[in-house]
């Protein structure tokens, strides 16, 4: 398949839709089995500090996170609305791509309140596996260094 701007934009649209429509069980399926997913912020990135607010190195860990939200964790019901910008494609070939995509995420609480929750950019490495575009790596770099306590759903 040709990995290009349109393919990546379409991938991101489907990714955001899975989260925002609360089809969270689909979310790990956007990643390769061995993958890297991390949520961090600009200051840690600038200083090269490796820790994340969320840190996973396998799709199974992403599945565990969704299972924890569904079954284990106590938090208030809420939804996200992702607004994703156009991907900035650093490189692309037949078997993958490196791209950056800015995001804004609003959080809609069960109380009815909606607010801007996070802004930042995904730093992505895509690969093609069996004809499907998948994320080998997605680092969500938030602009703000302060994170509200309830970062339950994935960015």
């Amino acid at each position: 398949m040709a990995v290009d701007l349109l393919a990546i934009a379409a991938f991101n649209a489907a990714y955001a839709h899975a989260i925002d429509s609360e089809a969270l069980e689909q979310w790990p399926g956007f990643f390769t089995a061995r993958c890297h997913y991390r949520i961090t912020h600009v200051e840690n990135e600038r200083e090269g500090l490796p820790a994340g607010i969320v840190y996973a190195d396998s799709r199974a860990m992403l599945e565990d996170r969704i299972a924890a939200l569904r079954e284990a964790n106590i938090y208030e019901r809420h939804r996200y609305r992702h607004l994703l910008g156009l991907p900035l494609v650093d490189s692309a070939s037949a078997d993958g791509a490196v791209a950056r995509t800015p995001f804004m995420v609003a959080r809609i609480m069960h109380t009815g309140q909606a607010e801007l929750f996070a802004t930042g950019a995904y730093r992505d490495r895509f690969v093609v596996e069996q004809g499907r575009l998948l994320l080998a790596e997605r680092v969500a770099v938030c602009d703000s260094t302060v994170t509200d306590t309830l970062m339950a759903l994935p960015l």
């Binding site: 969320v54 860990m61 565990d64 299972a67 079954e71 284990a72 260094t145 994170t147 509200d148």
Partner: protein, 409 residues
């Protein structure tokens, strides 16, 4: 001095007035009597000030502070507030500086917080300038006393505060040394915004009773259960505590089954158990140690996940929790990876810490309109002494013991 608008029902520690979590006069008095009073407040790690000129900006309560290392190898701290008109002196969170200059009218300060330069002090072409009797030595931001213990930098605005090891007491010193016994490295920093008064978070940290009831991850994966071997240490002042436990599969018992708790479930298992796969790091077998120092410092060892936390009030019903995740400087890459994975338990999205943030909000919202009512803190009696069991609120009562002493309430 302070008008006591809030009535404590008796001299004890088991009834805590809800009004304390939303009262403006109380919050003002806390700044004066606690944060600017005879307490040691965590500022940063010495590891974060590697060389002469390295600085960080932080807060003591609401007061902005600059912490800086000078070429003599000593750490200094002073209010981040210009002696002229009060602007912030240092704007960045961290950096390296030869000296500091206020952007407003370019007054300058050395690394020890002395006012060293006033722009156009003698005026321009014989016009203006400061009066001849103006003496720079008499002006400058307030300086803090500094104490470094095991690489932790503490500051105090009070000249009467006891030396740090006396303030902490021998048991707390020993429990800090246990974790910070060799050089550490920062592996990440995060700030968690909490929807509640700072004291609700400090209480949560000291509340060994809730941990395995609220947090399914603790209980189901046997990271922390009240039935495990462990204990609670409360220091003489009441203000500092340690809660510790050890994972011992052989000691598993039925006490949780009998209670039928949500947080204990056999069906819930991880697909990738490497999240919790740790390594033995300390020879005492203790796999969890949460330690707090009055008023707002926490040192955490949850298996191999090490962190320091700083609790800062940000208004009556807001606070910020600054997390600094740590590894040891001599970690192997595998050990580092374990710490990064276990950090999923803590911070704003942590399988455990997210819930602590959420319940703080539940309390803050729950106590609205209940100024005249009190919390009931009677689990394990009415004392604030150390003990082996953790189904107790002894260390929460300890906090209020220290708090009432400081506030003269």
């Amino acid at each position: 001095m302070q008008e006591h608008t809030i009535a404590w029902k008796g001299p004890g520690l088991t009834r805590i007035p809800f009004a304390l979590y939303s009262d403006a006069a109380t919050a003002r008095a806390e700044q004066q009597r606690i944060f600017r009073g005879p307490t040691w407040n965590y500022l940063c790690l010495e590891a974060e000030l590697p060389e002469g000129g390295s600085f960080r900006t932080t807060f003591v309560g609401e007061t902005p502070v600059v912490v800086v290392k000078d070429d003599d190898g000593e750490v200094y701290a002073f209010e981040n507030r210009c002696a002229h008109r009060g602007a912030l002196i240092a704007l960045e969170r961290s950096g390296k500086a030869e000296s500091f200059q206020c952007v407003y009218h370019a007054w300058s300060y050395n690394r020890q917080g002395d006012l060293t330069g006033v722009a156009f002090e003698k005026g321009v072409k014989g016009q203006g300038g400061m009066p001849p009797q103006f003496c720079k030595e008499e002006h400058g931001p307030r300086k803090l006393r500094i104490a470094v213990f095991c690489g932790l930098v503490f500051g105090s605005f009070d000249d009467e505060v006891p030396p740090i090891d006396e303030y902490l007491g021998p048991q707390i010193c020993e429990r800090i040394e246990r974790v910070l016994h060799k050089p550490v490295e920062v592996i990440g920093r995060f700030t968690q915004a909490l929807p509640n008064n700072w004291k609700l978070y400090v209480e949560n940290v000291k509340d060994s009773y809730h941990a395995s009831l609220l947090h399914l991850f603790f209980t189901t994966f046997e990271i922390n259960r009240l039935s495990q071997k462990g204990g609670v240490i409360v220091d003489e002042s009441g203000g500092h505590h340690v809660s510790f436990s050890m994972i011992d599969p052989a000691a598993a018992d039925a006490s949780y089954k009998e209670q039928g708790l949500r947080s204990d479930t056999e069906n819930y298992r991880l697909k990738d158990p490497s999240l919790l796969a740790g390594f033995a790091e300390y020879d005492d077998g203790i796999t969890l140690q949460i330690l707090s120092v009055f008023p707002g410092f926490i040192l955490q060892q949850i298996q191999n996940c090490l962190a320091v936390r700083q609790v800062l009030p940000k208004g009556l019903d807001r606070s910020e929790l600054n997390w600094t995740y740590l590894g040891y400087a001599d970690d192997t890459p595998e050990q580092r990876t374990v710490r990064l994975k276990q950090a999923n338990l803590v911070g704003p999205a942590g399988f455990i810490s997210m819930e602590d943030g959420a319940v703080g909000g539940f309390v803050q919202r729950g106590i609205a309109g209940a100024r005249e009512l009190d919390a009931v803190v009677e689990m394990g009696g009415d004392g604030a002494a150390s003990g082996e069991g953790r189904a107790t609120e002894a260390s929460v009562r300890g906090f209020w013991k220290a708090y009432r002493a400081r506030m003269e309430a």
